[in-house]
Amino acid sequence: MSRLRIALTKGRLKDETMKLFEKMGLDCEPLYNPGRRLIHSIPNYPLDIVLAKGPDVITYVEHGVCHMGIVGKDSILELGRSFYEVLDLGIGKCRFALAVQEGSDFYGTYKTRRIASKYPNVTREFFEKKGMDVSVIRIEGSVELAPILGLADAIVDLVETGDTLRANGLIPIEDVAQISARLIVNTPAMKLYPTEILDFVERCRTVIQGTPQASA
C-alpha cells in the first residue's frame, strides 16, 4: 500500500475541505489551480485526491476505486449504499427543509399532496415516517419553481440561509434533516490498510475536535 486515494466533492465543499486539510498540515498547493486535471497528489502526505460530484464520490468509494471520500450527508441520505461513515466533519452545514408558499396551510387538507424535490428518497422516507401519503415529483433544477408554477404543494430541499426561498415567496415550515459533510471509507480498504486510514482519520478528528482520541 503506497498511497491512499480520497474523492472530494467538487464545488463549495471542496474549498472548506481544503481549509480542513491545511489545518491537518497537508500541502494543498496542487488543488489551488487544478486546471482540467481531476487527480492531484498531496506533496507532503501519501494521498491522492480525486475531484467528483457528490453522488459519484459515493459510487467510487463503494466500489473501492477510492479508499475514502468526503461527501455531504444529503447525498448519503438520498443514495444509501454500503461503506463506513467515520466522521462528521462539521463543514458544509445546512439542512433539508420542507417549504411551502407563504400563507398556504400544508397540513390542513385530506388531499394527497404533491412534493417536488431533487431528493425523492429523502422526501418519501420523511413522509413515510409521518404515515402520510404524498406524491413525490423529481425536479432536477431550481425546485422553488414547482410550487410557484402550481406543479407542487411543497418542496423538500437543502436550505442554507433561506434567502432563495424567501425571494420566491416560500417559507420553510419543518426541518427534515441536518446536513454536514462526512468522511466515508470503503469497507475492505479499512480492513486492508488500517494503519494508513486510521492515521488520516485521527488527524481529521484531532483538527475537528481539537483533541486526539484518547487511546487505551
Partner: protein, 390 residues
C-alpha cells in the same frame, strides 16, 4: 415484432475467458468442500416468497425478484442459498442424524437500483454445517473459509471474525432504550467513531462502557482481543474469551496468519447468534466471503438444530485473479472424409491449438485459415499427413 438484443439491467453475458475464470474458482471450491466430506445440494431457482419471510432473513422485500404462479402465490428468484438449505435440512433430512455437511454452487438473484454497476445475478459457492455447535464446529468452518480462499489461488486476503453476542452482552446492562441501542449498533456498523462516542456519553458507569467506546476501533490482529479483555468487566468477557480460545485453535491449525478480528461487527442481530465473519481480498471493493452462526434459523422451519456456514462471491474472487488466457488456435486440420477419427484425435491432443476445417476442398480451407489468421494447415490425406505453412 422487434426483439430487444440487450440483456436486462444487472445481467450480462460471459464469454470464453470469463467462463473459465468463474469455473476455475468454482472447481477449486467445490473440490475442497468435497474433500472435507461435504455433500452437494441443488435447490430450485424459484421458491415461495414466504420461505424467505419465514426464515427471519433480513432481506428487504424490494431486493427480491418476484413473480406470481398460477394459483396466485408469490414466487421469488432464489435471493439467498441458506434459507432453502435450512428448509431441506428441517424437512427432507429431518430423520438423518446430525451433523449434516452440505455445500452448494448456485446463483442467487437480487434486484437492485439501476446503473450502480452491480450484478443482480451472483454466483455463490458455500457450505453449511448443520447440527454442530461449539468451538470445534466454528473452528472447522473458519479454517474452511481460510482454506477456501487459499484454494482459489488468492495471496493477499484475510478472514475477519467478530461475535454477534458481544454487542448484545455489552449493551444489556446499559439501561438504554431499545432505539438508542439500535442507533449505537448502526453507528458501530458504520464505524461512525465520533457519533458513537457522543451517544455513549450518558452510560459511562455501565460495566460494558469501556469496551463499547473502543469497540469501533477494535479491529486488526489478535492483539485487539487482549485490548478488549483488559478493558472488559463482566459484560462481554465470555465472548472475548471464546474468540481468544477459537483463535488459538485456528493458530494451531496453521490459519493464524490469515485471521483478523473486528469486534465491532454487529450485523443483523436477530439472524446471527454467535461468531460472524467476512473475507477480504486485495483488489475487491467489498467482502468476497461472508458467514456466521445462526442457531435459530432451523427452528423457524420446525427443527431445533444449530447451524453455521458461509458463502463466497465467486465472481468477486475471480476478478481479483490474473485473467485466464485462452489458447489461441493457430492450425486448421483439413482431412479426407474417411479420416475423421484421426482428425478428432489430432484436435484433442493439441489442447486448443488447432481447429477442424469443415471445408470440402483444400482451397476453401486455405481461405478460412487466412480469414482466421492461422498460420498452418495440417492435411490428413489417404495414407499420409503433411503440414502446409501459410
Amino acid at each position: 415484432m422487434q426483439y430487444t438484443v440487450n440483456t436486462p439491467e444487472g445481467t450480462r453475458d460471459r464469454l470464453f475467458g470469463e467462463c473459465r475464470e468463474r469455473r476455475k474458482v468454482q472447481s477449486a471450491l467445490t473440490g475442497l468442500f468435497k474433500r472435507r466430506g461435504y455433500h452437494e445440494i441443488i435447490t430450485p431457482e424459484v421458491e415461495y416468497y414466504d420461505l424467505f419471510i419465514q426464515s427471519g432473513n433480513p432481506l428487504p422485500q424490494e431486493s427480491m425478484l418476484k413473480s406470481i404462479d398460477r394459483s396466485g402465490k408469490i414466487l421469488v428468484m432464489r435471493p439467498d442459498c441458506t434459507a432453502p438449505i435450512a428448509r431441506v435440512a428441517a424437512t427432507k433430512l429431518q430423520n438423518e442424524p446430525l451433523p449434516q455437511r452440505l455445500y452448494y454452487n448456485q446463483t442467487i438473484f437480487r434486484s437492485g437500483t439501476a446503473h450502480l454497476g452491480n450484478s443482480h445475478e451472483i454466483a455463490q459457492c458455500g457450505v453449511e454445517l448443520i447440527g454442530a455447535s461449539g468451538e470445534k464446529a466454528d473452528a472447522e468452518m473458519l479454517s474452511m473459509a481460510v482454506d477456501a480462499l487459499a484454494a482459489c489461488g488468492l495471496s493477499i486476503f484475510h478472514i475477519e471474525i467478530g461475535h454477534a453476542g458481544l454487542f448484545r452482552a455489552l449493551t444489556k446492562d446499559l439501561g438504554a432504550p431499545q432505539e438508542t441501542v439500535e442507533q449505537m449498533r448502526s453507528y458501530l456498523e458504520q464505524k461512525n467513531f465520533a457519533a458513537l462516542d457522543d451517544l455513549l456519553l450518558p452510560y459511562q458507569n455501565a460495566s460494558g462502557y469501556p469496551v463499547l467506546c473502543r469497540l469501533a476501533y477494535l479491529f486488526g490482529g489478535p492483539e485487539v482481543l487482549e485490548e478488549a479483555e483488559a478493558l472488559s468487566g463482566e459484560a462481554g468477557a465470555e465472548e472475548i474469551r471464546y474468540l481468544k480460545s477459537l483463535y488459538q485453535r485456528l493458530e494451531q491449525a496453521g490459519c493464524g496468519g490469515r485471521i483478523q478480528f473486528d469486534l465491532g461487527l454487529a450485523p443483523q442481530l436477530d439472524y446471527y447468534t454467535g461468531v460472524v465473519f467476512r473475507g477480504y481480498v486485495e483488489g475487491a471493493g467489498s467482502a468476497v466471503l461472508s458467514g456466521g452462526r445462526y442457531d435459530t434459523l432451523l427452528r423457524d422451519f420446525g427443527r431445533n438444530a444449530p447451524a453455521t456456514g458461509f458463502a463466497i462471491d465467486v465472481d468477486g474472487v475471480a476478478q481479483t485473479l490474473p485473467p485466464v488466457e485462452l489458447p489461441k488456435a493457430t492450425q486448421l486440420v483439413h482431412y479426407e472424409a474417411d479420416r475423421l477419427r484421426e482428425a478428432l484425435s489430432c484436435i484433442e491432443s493439441s489442447q486448443g491449438a488447432c481447429e477442424l476445417s469443415p471445408c470440402e476442398t483444400l482451397e476453401e480451407t486455405i481461405a478460412l485459415a487466412k480469414e482466421k489468421k492461422m498460420n498452418q494447415i495440417i492435411i490428413l490425406e489417404t495414407g499420409k499427413a503433411r503440414v502446409l505453412n501459410i
